[in-house]
C-alpha cells in the first residue's frame, strides 16, 4: 500500500490549494463555453443537437486531459530537475509501480475536479447533458490515461522547454482535433482515420455518446483503457530505469 503514501502527499497539497485550483480551473472552461457554446454555437445544430450540448462533452474531455497531464507532468519535471524531491521516492524502499500509481491518482484527482467544474458550469449555461455512469467511467479513464502520459513524459523529458515542446506538438493539437469541437463526420474519411489514432478522440466519442444518451462506443472505451494501461506501464519502466 505504498502508493497510498505517495497519493496522500498529493492529496494534502491538493486540499491546501483547492481554491486556487478551483478558480484557475474555471477560466478555460468559461472561455470555451462562452466562445463556442454560447457565442459561436447559438442557433447551430450538429449531429441533431444544439452546438452547446454537442461541445460540452468535448470541453470536458480536453479539460480533463489538460488538468491530469499538466498537473503530473509539470510537477514531476520540477521535482526531478529543480527541487529534486522526486529523489526521495527513488531512494525510499518502495517499488516503482507504487510511485507511479500514487502520482497518477493525484493527477486523476485534478482531472476529476476539472470535469466537475465544467459539468456545473455547463448546466449554468443551459446545456442539457446527463452525467451517466458511462460518462463518469470515461472521465475516470481519461484522467488516468493522461495522468499516466504526464508521468511518462515527465520521466523521459528533462528540460522544461522540451515539456513545452511536447505540449505544443501533441497536447494542443489534440485539444482541437480530437472531435472535441467538430464532428468527425465532417472531415474526409482518411483525416478521420488519422484523428482516431489520438487517444483524446476516443475520450470525446465516449463522453459525447454517454452524455447525450446515445449508444456507448465500447470499442472506443477499450482503446482508452488500452492507452491508459500502456502509458501506465511505460511510466513504471521509465521510473525503474531512471538510475543510470
Amino acid at each position: 500500500m505504498d502508493f497510498l503514501v505517495v497519493f496522500e502527499r498529493e492529496l494534502l497539497t491538493f486540499r491546501r490549494r483547492f481554491w486556487r485550483y478551483f478558480f484557475a480551473g474555471m477560466v478555460n472552461p468559461l472561455l470555451l463555453l462562452t466562445a463556442f457554446g454560447w457565442g459561436l454555437g447559438r442557433g447551430i445544430q450538429l449531429e441533431g443537437v444544439s452546438y452547446l450540448n454537442y461541445v460540452v462533452p468535448g470541453i470536458i474531455a480536453l479539460s480533463t486531459m489538460n488538468a491530469s497531464f499538466t498537473s503530473v507532468g509539470v510537477a514531476l519535471n520540477i521535482s526531478r530537475r529543480y527541487t529534486k524531491t522526486f529523489e526521495n521516492y527513488l531512494v525510499a524502499p518502495i517499488e516503482a509501480h507504487s510511485i507511479v500509481l500514487g502520482k497518477v491518482l493525484g493527477g486523476v484527482l485534478r482531472g476529476l475536479l476539472s470535469a466537475a467544474i465544467i459539468v456545473v458550469l455547463a448546466h449554468l449555461y443551459g446545456a442539457e447533458v446527463s452525467l451517466s455512469a458511462e460518462a463518469v467511467a470515461t472521465i475516470l479513464a481519461t484522467s488516468f490515461l493522461f495522468a499516466s502520459l504526464g508521468m511518462l513524459v515527465g520521466m523521459l523529458i528533462w528540460s522544461h522547454e522540451d515539456m513545452n515542446t511536447f505540449n505544443a506538438l501533441f497536447i494542443t493539437p489534440m485539444m482541437f482535433l480530437s472531435g472535441t469541437f467538430f464532428s468527425l463526420q465532417a472531415v474526409p474519411a482518411w483525416v478521420a482515420a488519422l484523428i482516431k489514432l489520438l487517444p483524446l478522440t476516443h475520450a470525446s466519442l465516449c463522453l459525447r455518446a454517454a452524455m447525450l444518451g446515445r449508444e456507448f462506443p465500447t470499442a472506443s472505451f477499450a482503446v482508452l483503457l488500452a492507452f491508459a494501461l500502456a502509458f501506465f506501464l511505460a511510466s513504471i519502466l521509465a521510473v525503474r530505469r531512471s538510475s543510470q
Binding site: D2, V5, E8, R9, L12, T13, R16, T83, K84, T85, E87, N88, Y89, L90, V91, A92, P93, I94, E95, S243, Q244
Partner: protein, 282 residues
C-alpha cells in the same frame, strides 16, 4: 558496513569515478575529501542505488547495491547536497511522510518525530512550511529526515556547504552525537577542517581516484606533523618535519636574508592534499 570493490562510473567518455576500493567499518565516521567534481557525489549516488556503476561492485550493510537495492534502501539514510525537502509541506509532515515510506508504525513515527525535532532544534518550527526555512534550518531538517527511520548507515553529502560558521558547528555537533550512538557515517566534504574535526578516517579523492586513505592524524604524521613555511622575496617554500624543533631549525637556517621570514605550524589535511596532488583543494 560499506565495501567498495573497483567501483567505477563513466558518463559517456568521462570517467567520474575510477576503481574505488575501500571499506567502512560499523560505527565509523568516514570522510571522502576532495575538490568539487572529484567524484564524491557520484560515489554516494552509486552506494545509495541512485546511479548504476559502470563496473565494480559495492555492498552496503551487507547487500549488493545493484542486486538488492530495496534491502540497501531500507537500511540507509541520505542527506543529499541539494536540500530536497518538500517545501510545500511542514517540517513535521516531511518527517511523517518519510516515516510512512519506511513503514514505521504510527506511534513510533510520532515519538521519533518529537525526538528528532528536538535533536536538530526545530521544535518551534515543526508546523511551518519548509519553503520558509533558512538554509541552515533546512540542512538540519534534512539530517533529521535522513535519521527518521533509524538507518544503519548514514550518507551525508557536503553536510555544511553554504552554511555560516555557527550553523556549521551545530551540524558538526549533530554528527559527533551520531558517532556516539554508533551510526556508521559516510560523508563527503571539500572542507578540510570538517574532515579533520569529524572523521575517524579520510579517503582523499581526486579526479575520481582514491589517492590516500587513513586517519587524519596518520595522514599528517606520514607527511610530517609540523610544517615550516619559508618566505623569501614573495615566494613561499613549504617543508614538513616530524618535530617542531626540526622545523624551527630548518626555518632559521633557510630564512637568513633581510627580506626573509618563516613560520612553523601544525600540518593540516590541506597540506596533505596539496602534496599528493600538487593542487589546492578549492
Amino acid at each position: 558496513m560499506i565495501r567498495l570493490k573497483a567501483l567505477t562510473k563513466y558518463y559517456g567518455d568521462i570517467r567520474a569515478v575510477h576503481s574505488l576500493t575501500f571499506s567502512v567499518a560499523r560505527g565509523e565516521v568516514f570522510g571522502l575529501l576532495g575538490p568539487n567534481g572529484a567524484g564524491k557525489t557520484t560515489t554516494i549516488r552509486m552506494l545509495t542505488t541512485l546511479t548504476k556503476p559502470s563496473s565494480g561492485r559495492a555492498w552496503v550493510a551487507g547487500y549488493d547495491v545493484v542486486e538488492e537495492p530495496l534491502a540497501v534502501k531500507r537500511r540507509i539514510g541520505i542527506a543529499p547536497q541539494h536540500l530536497n525537502l518538500d517545501g510545500e509541506l511542514t517540517a513535521r509532515e516531511n518527517l511523517e511522510f518519510h516515516g510512512r515510506l519506511y513503514h514505521m508504525p504510527r506511534s513510533e513515527r510520532r515519538r521519533r518525530i518529537q525526538e528528532l525535532l528536538a535533536f536538530v532544534g526545530l521544535e518551534e518550527r515543526a508546523d511551518d512550511l519548509v519553503e520558509n526555512f533558512s538554509g541552515g534550518m533546512k540542512r538540519r531538517l534534512l539530517i533529521a529526515r535522513a535519521l527518521m527511520h533509524s538507518p544503519e548507515v548514514l550518507f551525508l553529502d557536503e553536510p555544511t556547504v553554504g552554511l555560516d560558521p555557527a550553523t556549521r558547528r551545530k551540524i558538526w555537533d549533530l554528527i559527533r552525537s551520531l558517532r556516539s550512538e554508533g551510526v556508521t557515517v559516510l560523508m563527503t566534504t571539500h572542507y578540510i577542517e570538517e574532515a579533520e574535526q569529524l572523521c575517524d578516517r579520510v579517503g582523499i579523492i581526486d579526479r575520481g581516484e582514491l589517492i590516500a586513505l587513513d586517519s587524519p592524524s596518520q595522514l599528517k604524521r606520514r607527511l610530517g606533523s609540523f610544517t615550516v613555511e619559508v618566505y623569501h622575496s614573495g615566494r613561499a617554500e613549504r617543508r614538513f618535519f616530524p618535530t617542531r624543533e626540526e622545523a624551527l631549525e630548518y626555518g632559521a637556517e633557510h630564512a637568513r636574508c633581510d627580506a626573509c621570514d618563516f613560520s612553523v605550524r601544525e600540518t593540516n589535511l590541506e597540506d596533505v592534499f596539496i602534496e599528493l596532488t600538487g593542487r589546492r583543494i578549492e
